[in-house]
């Protein structure tokens, strides 16, 4: 499902101007990450995508729906939103009912709700915790509950606000696998993350947000290589990109595999050159 943020400006009631004439088009099946420093407006922008916030000026189209004309409940059939802070999202008494809340409200049959919840919990590895109270789980597991709740909705669009916060190595990997699963199923993904390493691995387009406006956007490799641009947005390139740059390698690797490949390619001419000279 396509998404069109069309010349959107927004100010909070406190007068803080959070978005300034933002235009962004995201096509069906794309995976796009919003990056930028704290307070740049990433979450404010994301909250416009499911109608939690309505534009002060401009409009947001989710498919052919204008968010100004839709209830949040209606938009929830198209956009699932995973909050930055799981504790703002969780309110049910068990993990199961938490994940079932969305599908039930979409009017699914009990059988479909059951199947959807089971599948979503299996995907995040929390089937064993279905009867637990969400607040009896560790914060990192509560995050997985919110992800399961979003997955269960089966929406064409999924917004993930800081999905890897507080996760250990295994948790980051699990969430990465979930994101890849959503991509192969053709979902449109919008991520917000300071974890640029995670963005590099799993999102194909980066949108750099700075002071409520879009500073730049483009394919992930192209954006990651622009140190000046990232610096202006208060963002540091991820470790592998910094290492490649420090070694003088030409390119911005998105994964360890990508780094090793780049290193191999750039080493070859040097090695043969060296071999030639010593001969």
């Amino acid at each position: 499902m396509n998404l069109h943020v069309d010349h959107v400006s927004f100010s909070y009631a406190s007068g803080v101007r959070a978005l300034q004439d933002v235009t962004l088009r995201i096509s069906s099946g794309e995976s796009v990450a919003l990056i930028g420093e704290n307070g740049a407006g990433k979450t404010t922008l994301a909250k416009h995508l499911n109608g939690l916030l309505r534009p002060g000026e401009g409009r947001v189209l989710v498919g052919d729906w204008d968010t100004r004309d839709c209830t949040i409940a209606r938009l929830a059939t198209r956009v699932a939103y995973v909050f930055q802070n799981p504790d703002e999202q969780l309110f049910e008494r068990t993990v199961y009912t938490e994940v079932a809340f969305g599908p039930r409200n979409l009017g699914w049959t009990p059988k479909d709700v059951e199947a959807g919840v089971q599948q979503a919990l299996a995907q995040v590895g929390l089937l064993h915790a279905a009867d637990h109270h969400p607040y009896d789980l560790q914060p990192s597991q509560r995050r997985l509950v919110t992800l399961a709740a979003a997955l269960a909705m089966n929406t064409p669009l999924v917004v993930l606000d800081e999905p890897t916060t507080g996760q250990d190595a295994a948790g980051v990997e699990r969430i990465g696998a979930l994101v890849e699963g959503l991509k192969t199923r053709g979902r449109t993904l919008i991520g917000i993350s300071h974890d640029l390493d995670f963005c590099a691995l799993h999102f194909d387009r980066l949108v750099v947000v700075s002071r409520g406006a879009i500073l730049a956007e483009g394919p992930t490799e192209a954006i990651l290589g622009q140190f000046n641009l990232l610096g202006r947005a208060g963002v540091e390139p991820p470790p592998l990109v910094r290492l490649a740059d420090a070694l003088g390698l030409l390119g911005a690797p998105r994964s360890v595999d990508g780094f090793v490949e780049l290193y191999r390619q750039e080493r070859k001419p040097e090695e043969s050159d060296h071999a030639h000279r010593t001969r």
Binding site: G39, Q84, D87, G166, D168, P239, L240, L243, R267
Partner: protein
Amino acid sequence: MIEIANLGFSYPGARMQALDGITLTIPSGQFCGVVGANGSGKSTLCYALSGFIPHFFRGVYRGHVRIADRLVAERTLADLAGDVGLVFENPFNQITGARLTVAEEIAFGLENLAVPVKEMRRRIQEALALTGLTELADRSPYALSGGQQQRLAVASMIAMKPKVLVLDEPSSQLDPSGTRDLFETLKTLTSNAGLTLILTEHKLDWLAAFADRVIALAAGRVVLDGTPREVLTSPVMLENGIGQTRYTEAAARCRHAGLVKEDGSLPVTLEQAVEALR
């Protein structure tokens, strides 16, 4: 100085011990990183150091935690507050909700320590400046972004000038520049003010660059203890699901592929990685 001797703790109803026989000595002024998979006991250790265990979280407690030669279990939380500060993993849990502005929020702890007003104002300004919040001093704590709230939580503790500062994943909501600023501030406080720091963190590359020492926990026990490079390059890290820095991973893979010589220990920082792969 902190002395932990054979510390064990189980939460009520839990089958597993959250901490199981921890013995550590942490000298004054040390920047000590704690790593471990989720559920390894990092937060529980933070609570035990700051006195929330055994005074707030009840459970089965054994062993000793001493800070400046005084047993944590024998002091009240109010008494401990002057010596040890804890920055919670989730800043939303730390903000009092009883103050209308960022500056007043920082004042909360100082008021409870009966710090004179003049001194209080000075410390608030200093804490605001150190955490980059000066411009937001008059804003409501709830009108801040996640990262700004996290910096406020740190500012509130710095202002109290504790001898020991315990931070549970203090950079979880911060962007990389914010994380760098925080780590630099903390490093300065340990070097100049002799503050002892215990900091849990999943972002291993930051500990690699800033910590004096790294302790790895698994299932409530210390499995590694040493310099960042010793600990973070150990295979024990992978065995316990703690992971590695991208620098370690990339260099290990290049070695494995025969692209560089197997020479010395693997890198954990950018500088070391450049050295290893040049």
